[in-house]
Assembly symmetry: D2
Homo-oligomer: 307 residues x 4
Amino acid sequence: MPLDYQAILDEINDALRPELGQEGKVADYIPALARVPADRFGIALRTCDGFEAASGDSNEAFSIQSISKLFSLTLALQRVGDQVWDRIGREPSGNPFNSLVQLEREEGVPRNPFINAGAIAVADRLVSATKSHAKTDIVELISSLCGDKVMIDQEVAQSEAANGYRNVAVANFMKSFDKFDNNVAQVLDVYFNQCAIQMSCVQLARAAGFLCRDGGHPYRGKSVVSERQARRLNALMLTCGTYDSAGEFAFLVGLPCKSGVGGGIVAVVPETLSLCVWSPAIDESGNSHLGRKALEMFVARTRLSIF
Amino acid sequence: MPLDYQAILDEINDALRPELGQEGKVADYIPALARVPADRFGIALRTCDGFEAASGDSNEAFSIQSISKLFSLTLALQRVGDQVWDRIGREPSGNPFNSLVQLEREEGVPRNPFINAGAIAVADRLVSATKSHAKTDIVELISSLCGDKVMIDQEVAQSEAANGYRNVAVANFMKSFDKFDNNVAQVLDVYFNQCAIQMSCVQLARAAGFLCRDGGHPYRGKSVVSERQARRLNALMLTCGTYDSAGEFAFLVGLPCKSGVGGGIVAVVPETLSLCVWSPAIDESGNSHLGRKALEMFVARTRLSIF
Amino acid sequence: MPLDYQAILDEINDALRPELGQEGKVADYIPALARVPADRFGIALRTCDGFEAASGDSNEAFSIQSISKLFSLTLALQRVGDQVWDRIGREPSGNPFNSLVQLEREEGVPRNPFINAGAIAVADRLVSATKSHAKTDIVELISSLCGDKVMIDQEVAQSEAANGYRNVAVANFMKSFDKFDNNVAQVLDVYFNQCAIQMSCVQLARAAGFLCRDGGHPYRGKSVVSERQARRLNALMLTCGTYDSAGEFAFLVGLPCKSGVGGGIVAVVPETLSLCVWSPAIDESGNSHLGRKALEMFVARTRLSIF
Amino acid sequence: MPLDYQAILDEINDALRPELGQEGKVADYIPALARVPADRFGIALRTCDGFEAASGDSNEAFSIQSISKLFSLTLALQRVGDQVWDRIGREPSGNPFNSLVQLEREEGVPRNPFINAGAIAVADRLVSATKSHAKTDIVELISSLCGDKVMIDQEVAQSEAANGYRNVAVANFMKSFDKFDNNVAQVLDVYFNQCAIQMSCVQLARAAGFLCRDGGHPYRGKSVVSERQARRLNALMLTCGTYDSAGEFAFLVGLPCKSGVGGGIVAVVPETLSLCVWSPAIDESGNSHLGRKALEMFVARTRLSIF
């Protein structure tokens, strides 16, 4: 008997909504994020066959933050292929996501593309490959993937830039190891803008669709990335997608996920569906508190863990 | 059309055998391991339905080393359930497998049960739970799982003990944080002996069968662990099972794996099959060089990656 | 006009006695140390000319703890000379005194002989040089230097051994790097016993006399160490003698010092005098709270800083 | 019998000149430094009484680099007094001088004012205290101290800025911890310029004169800093003045020293004299190879070690 996804998402929404605002804390390092109301919860999915289901605040746009790292890496794979791995590792970091310690020990090579240092290194590659178009190209890729025109929240982008001293430090640190090609300010402009893209759960569930379709575009005949690349993106999400809680997510959820401090989490069930859950209050590890609970419930109910 | 596993394993054996002895290096920190000939390659699998295939030196016994951590953790889950997680984390370590740095920063709580510190903490739990029977109980669990009586190589066990200063350091370090219940020597005796168990690829492929059967015993009606525990063991293998190369294995192979410095690697395709490959020459990360290549070929050929 | 040392010590005693028990905390990691009353303060000095002055509880014996590292190093210099530096550095550690992190990064070579790892490495050298006599030889050296027969508090020694897991870890860790010659238990027996020696301020001021006399014995014609060695011992005390507060002590006191968690601090004014202050309550860095204040007062009053 | 300083300096010059160019390596991270000929050696001293002696290339100007940290700290003590210590520690770093690891662990508080991070923090204080005059004020202080008008080598300053990514990283990192008041570029402009000041051994020996005169100006009646501050500057030099070799310098030389990668080392004999030695080839720790040897010879010959 096929799963009734709409019923399952409604059930999760009903179960978790009473818990809104009880645990976790909305990210407050910049005002534009701190203003987001904590009492939001949305969830949406899209199957490989194009069936969609959604519940709660699933059409409300939020700041995708680190989820953008998934798409900037996808764009880099399209443009430079495996060269992207010349200066970026593929191992979980085992340290808080913004640590410089490891970057120092490994001489300017970030452990993976989903920690800040790694995503900034990806942005450096994109600037080399696209010149001044990197920012536009990321927005266009995402817009194409979700079938809507997505926008950058300029206030968020500017606040990120105004408070991004640690990211400036990280980029200059990589440059000191000669592992960085472009002007730091230009690269960080790309990075701060990609983090400030606004999307809803429905849009993100659609945009991640290529990851459950062996790289095939969610809406068009062509491929976004190769099958092999799609599988590897999923592997990276599983081992590195949720800050220093990747082991815990694998253990408790068992799906490739990429989260952001805006409270969104994108998850993939290979060959089956892509999903996005959003609730702004995050836990100490930077992942949405109810988002994680929702994914645990989803997997318990559907038995769709990859393990 | 069903996969012809026997043909696939033979094909891998034929393709890799010419490469024997070319790359990697047999572990040589103790004489009994250093004596193992580098020119061995074996591979074996067993499906959930009980079909078996094997190729190469698949019946030759080797030192399972860290693969034993999978079985000691399984035994601990049987005996104390989730209490095992009171003093052991579930995150990839992001550091070489024998590092004390992280153990210090995290005040005596090992990052996961598959690094040495974590496996020693598991052994401490087993000693508490089984008194003087821990060693026998591990051997009996494995023997039951593979349907053969497995043996401990006493020379290896004694050599491990004679050279195990770092493990003695690790155990005493945990004890200094009050995170260790039993006598250090007694616990390490369990640990050094479990590492010295000898098994063949065929035996290990069988013994890991419960991991692809939702925890069900490979040969008998009863459960080894619950379905949830089996899935979580697979998740741990994927994120932490191959030393500091877990990200790389997930990226290139895409299966839960547990490796040992004896050159063995156990892999699981959930709901489908369990597999073991062995070739003694290991790479810098401690994983079998040809074992990894074999797994990459197997997944490329069968498309059985979980991603 | 010559300084009236007796008046100065009395003045310090009078000024600080009202503060007894107000700040800091008696070391309590073993019962025999935890029992020491907090309300003790003693100070004593001996000039190069043999003049002595003392005030407060200056004849009460206390556990010299890490101050013993000064004498075990002196003995090692007598027995093996500069060979002692083959496996021990001479740099401040910049880390809490019992850290294994640095020992790992520097592959089993302790940063200096005054951190635990370094003192254990010194004890290893002494065991090699003196066979089973190391413990006796340290006691005899100190007894000769202070002109009294000093004793080991067996209860303290046994408690140190019973709680010394971290030191066991450190010794085994060095052994894993092949930087340790003898049986760990035998070496630690020396180390735990030397820490348990009981001495008074008067005795310690006398015993350190060779350090302000270019290495000359405080009571006899012969040399304890060469002039060069004496100066270098003073240099080591200044840069490494007070755990992770060596910079602070140099800055605020400006004299070579060696402290112990028993609350004692030995200080040296080269060419002038040796001094010992004791008060059991220690601060977070492991140094006697009032001991430090007393030294600051002494230097402010006498202007005997070396800087 | 008074020491014949001129003869001693000539003797050192004669002894070491044949070794020029044999060991160590001229700093080459910027072209203007790499061009400096390796075959230079100069030494100069000035006693508290105003007697001067010099030998070798003692009037040739070189890039003072990190020696400038001594003077910028002196200026900061003049302007803000002990407030300078609010955000800067006084402990040896125990790590290579440009490490970010420790800065991270200690949340943006540099360990001491003589590592790069600490000197940049001092420059931040100076910018707050002097507005746009910090650069000029440092030059004027030094000019006043040595009685000559000193100059900034603009090519060096610009090269430092063009290659100073790690310093940009360090400054932004401190700013990310909210431990930095001013614009990063403005502060680094001060820092890069102070490092590019050109001085000779004779000028530096004079300029450091206040450190051996209890803070009194080398040429005028007034004080540069208080006696207490002068003693504390000497203590800092001894524990932190020679990168990660402070322990070694204390052990082998036994004088407060501040070195720079340009090959200069300033040393102080409190109450007696100030000295500068210069030879451009530096060892792995960043200190002048022959400069260190010269200081060892000077102390062996004069017995002026402070220990």
